[in-house]
């Protein structure tokens, strides 16, 4: 499927299919319902191999961030300094994702001023094109 990057793991496809239609999806255990991320074949709580994918609200809080400076490789070198953040999801704060904080939904990853990035701030998911045209979940302040 074109929406799923070639390097995706065999459990990952539903995540990327969700991204393609503007929905943040997280894998869960079909037996005990526990959410898990990154995707993997077995539930760490009950060891069930059966999983189901759940749509998330797309809301979370900023857990940590870095401002990346050179030396870097293309295509990121020309964007530096830019931010990378980790977001804890509202549904389960132990489910965290790496992303970027944008000033506006389709903006670049280097527009929010570093002194405006706050751990604990509420953010919501947006979907925009990253390197190589791949659509990625990213974040803006709620």
């Amino acid at each position: 499927m074109a929406d799923v990057p070639s390097w995706a793991g065999e459990e990952d496809a539903p995540f990327w299919q969700g991204v393609a239609c503007g929905e943040l999806r997280v894998q869960s255990c079909a037996r005990c319902r526990r959410l898990r991320f990154p995707p993997r074949p077995f539930c760490p709580l009950c060891c069930s191999p059966e999983s189901a994918w759940q749509p998330m609200s797309g809301r979370g809080t900023l857990w940590s961030y870095v401002i990346v400076h050179p030396p870097l490789v293309a295509p990121f070198a020309e964007l530096a300094p830019y931010n990378v953040i980790v977001v804890a999801l509202e549904e389960d704060p132990a489910i965290r994702m790496v992303g970027n904080l944008l000033a506006e939904p389709h903006g670049p990853i280097n527009k929010v001023k570093p002194d405006q990035i706050r751990i604990g701030a509420r953010v919501k998911a947006v979907f925009s094109e990253g390197p190589g045209g791949l659509r990625l979940p990213r974040w803006i302040y709620e």
Binding site: P5, V66, V68, V84, I95, R96, I109, P131, L134
Partner: protein, 382 residues
């Protein structure tokens, strides 16, 4: 139990530097032969070989080059900078178990060329372990550790002053060590605070050097060690740790990402140990990035969780502070970055009393491998 039943009988190192002309294979054999000579053990007596999965020099090449005898124990440990202590610890286990008598652990690495940096190809080839971080531009080990460092600062109220304490103490140690890359380059607090960012909150001086070099250690039984050329340095305790739900380098996805490997490693290390953290006057702790030392000081119990920034204040990591001297040859930040194997050789020198920043009265030395990956630790004693 391993306790004092084996010892490091010899250590060897090549010179460290940028763009050394010799191949990694040649450097590896040079360091191994130096370590065997240091111990006074003939290469044909070697029957065990242990290194890193990332080592490019194959064990058979080493065995052929040095003229080793029949090898009955060979092993490799994974996770890059997490592997160092375990190469020695697993060698010790092999000797105690009777699988081998003379085991060589080594690491040879040429990393100073830009093309040798693993992350240099990261953006276009999203490796399996990076597929949940690299597409967003989290590309280099510095970025991956900076994310944990920023969270640490937020969670425990630490500031860059704590990272500076680490960088300045290690640089001061390198300034006493003629073999260190930064031997003749003092570092001031001002220079630290105004240095360029690499991945904010980490600046240039929070990041390790890029070096070429090789090192080796020879592990034998305590009985054999007593007949060797140098005084034995006993392997008093050894532990490995892969905390539950860990992700190597990008450990953001588990319940408590700042519960680093040393929290687990420490529990096992101290369990059968005659020493407590309060007895440890010198430690060699993996320092690809300065915050990793703060994490380890907490994990190994030198201070409480979240207290490392206070603990290191006022130069307490320096060799003559009387607290706990850390990385007394300069470490990865200021001596050389050879995947932390130089921490093991410096630990041995401290126990022999031959360090260039010798800690008075130190009768044991903690050596700890990398905090951001599955890791290991040794407690050495004289």
């Amino acid at each position: 139990m391993l306790k004092d039943r084996t010892a490091i009988a010899g250590i060897g190192e090549t010179s460290f530097g940028k763009l050394l002309p010799a191949s990694e294979e040649r450097l590896a054999c040079e360091a191994i032969l130096a370590a065997l000579d240091d111990a006074g053990i003939a290469p044909r007596e070697v029957d065990g070989l242990c290194s890193f999965t990332m080592e490019t020099t194959d064990a058979t090449e080493v065995a052929r080059n040095i003229g080793a005898g029949d090898i009955t124990f060979f092993s490799q440990v994974g996770y890059g900078g997490g592997a160092g202590c375990a190469t020695v610890g697993q060698a010790a286990m092999a000797v105690v178990a009777g699988q081998a008598n003379v085991v060589v652990a080594w690491r040879s690495r040429k990393r100073s060329a830009r093309s040798a940096r693993i992350w240099a190809s990261a953006a276009d080839s999203v490796a399996a372990s990076g597929r949940w971080s690299r597409p967003w531009g989290l590309l280099r080990p510095a970025d991956e550790v900076a994310m944990l460092a920023r969270r640490y600062m937020h969670q425990f109220g630490a500031t860059r002053e704590a990272f500076a304490e680490v960088a300045l103490a290690l640089r001061a140690h390198a300034n006493r060590n003629p073999r260190a890359a930064m031997y003749s380059r003092p570092l001031s607090r001002d220079e630290y605070m105004t240095a360029r960012w690499v991945s904010e909150p980490l600046c240039l001086f929070d990041c390790c050097l890029e070096s070429d070099g090789a090192l080796a250690a020879v592990i034998v039984s305590r009985e054999r060690a007593r007949d060797c050329r140098r005084p034995p340095v006993y392997i008093h305790a050894f532990a490995q740790a892969m905390p539950r739900q860990i992700y190597s380098m990008t450990n953001y996805f588990c319940e408590d990402p700042l519960r680093t490997p040393s929290f687990v490693c420490g529990k096992l290390l101290w369990r059968d140990c005659d020493f407590t953290p309060a007895d440890v006057k010198v430690a060699q702790i993996y320092d690809a990035f300065s915050p990793l030392i703060l994490f380890a000081l907490e994990g190994f119990g030198f201070c409480g969780r979240g207290e490392a920034a206070d603990f290191v204040r006022g130069g307490r990591l320096r060799w003559d502070s009387g607290a706990v001297a850390v990385n007394t040859a300069g470490g990865s930040l200021s001596e050389a970055y050879v995947h932390g194997f130089n921490l093991i050789t410096e630990g041995v020198r401290q126990m022999r009393g031959t360090s260039t920043a010798q800690v008075e009265g130190a009768n044991c030395c903690l050596v700890a491998s990398a905090e951001a990956v599955p890791s290991g630790a040794l407690l050495l004693r004289s």
